[in-house]
Symmetry: C2
Amino acid sequence: MAAARRSDCPIGFALDCFGDRWTLLVIRDLLFKGKRRFQDFRRSEERIASNILAERLRALESAGIVDRHVAARNEGGVTYCLTTKGIDLAPVLVEMIIWSAQYDARTAADPEFVAAARADRNALLDAIAATYRADQGRDFATS
Amino acid sequence: MAAARRSDCPIGFALDCFGDRWTLLVIRDLLFKGKRRFQDFRRSEERIASNILAERLRALESAGIVDRHVAARNEGGVTYCLTTKGIDLAPVLVEMIIWSAQYDARTAADPEFVAAARADRNALLDAIAATYRADQGRDFATS
DNA sequence: CTGTATCCTTAGGGATACTG
DNA sequence: CAGTATCCCTAAGGATACAG
């Protein structure tokens, strides 16, 4: 169901994976907002429709960026989490956040986050991955 | 003509600026392929239509990411170049290239480029900016 | 709660022709 | 060469209802 890729360019490939108006927001929710459930994503500020969300999650799963887990009955519900391939998108998102923080006055990026990124980017990325893996989902992206 | 922004999230802002199927390819052409002219962009592998290209260039200009220059008559033509704000998108593109190089076998990223990025990312970004400003437009992104 | 299923609307995009 | 102007069309997205 994936659209035919338009070129062998790495930028083009990345665009094919997450170059639409919704996918990166879902990844943001996973990476920075600790969201794991369908309804969590739906409640995000941007108000994604349920059919669109379902489709994006399926696409992300089939791209190997997200894992879908069906919890035991008594646990309730379905959860999504990033694979390593998904966590490896953190640098892309971080650079986008830094760029927006620099050029958009209205952007609600955490100044501490940006300062940390500039001071020691590798340490920040390690921290993000560690935090993600610890499943604590601190909200880095917005105050 | 810019669509209303959907949120104050920095990721959302970035998406509003270049989160479509074409804009980042134009920026790629400027940043890594030394392209400066309308027809250059049109000749890119992905074959953008002239009306779409014109619209994206206008949007990029009005976002302050690209500057439009009308050369003297004897110089011929119109050229586009990145502003500082546009050059500052290099980190985003670089991370996308690294990610694609890691996860897509078909991607035609220059191994030297990726190695340089991993070895000393800041040096690479400086080199990109310097090369860009020197207007040499070496082709970093693809072999 | 996690999705499907429909229906409908619109914006984005392709093709093509044309202009200064 | 650097775009406009049209026309057309489809895929992407919103609303809503509902199923397991």
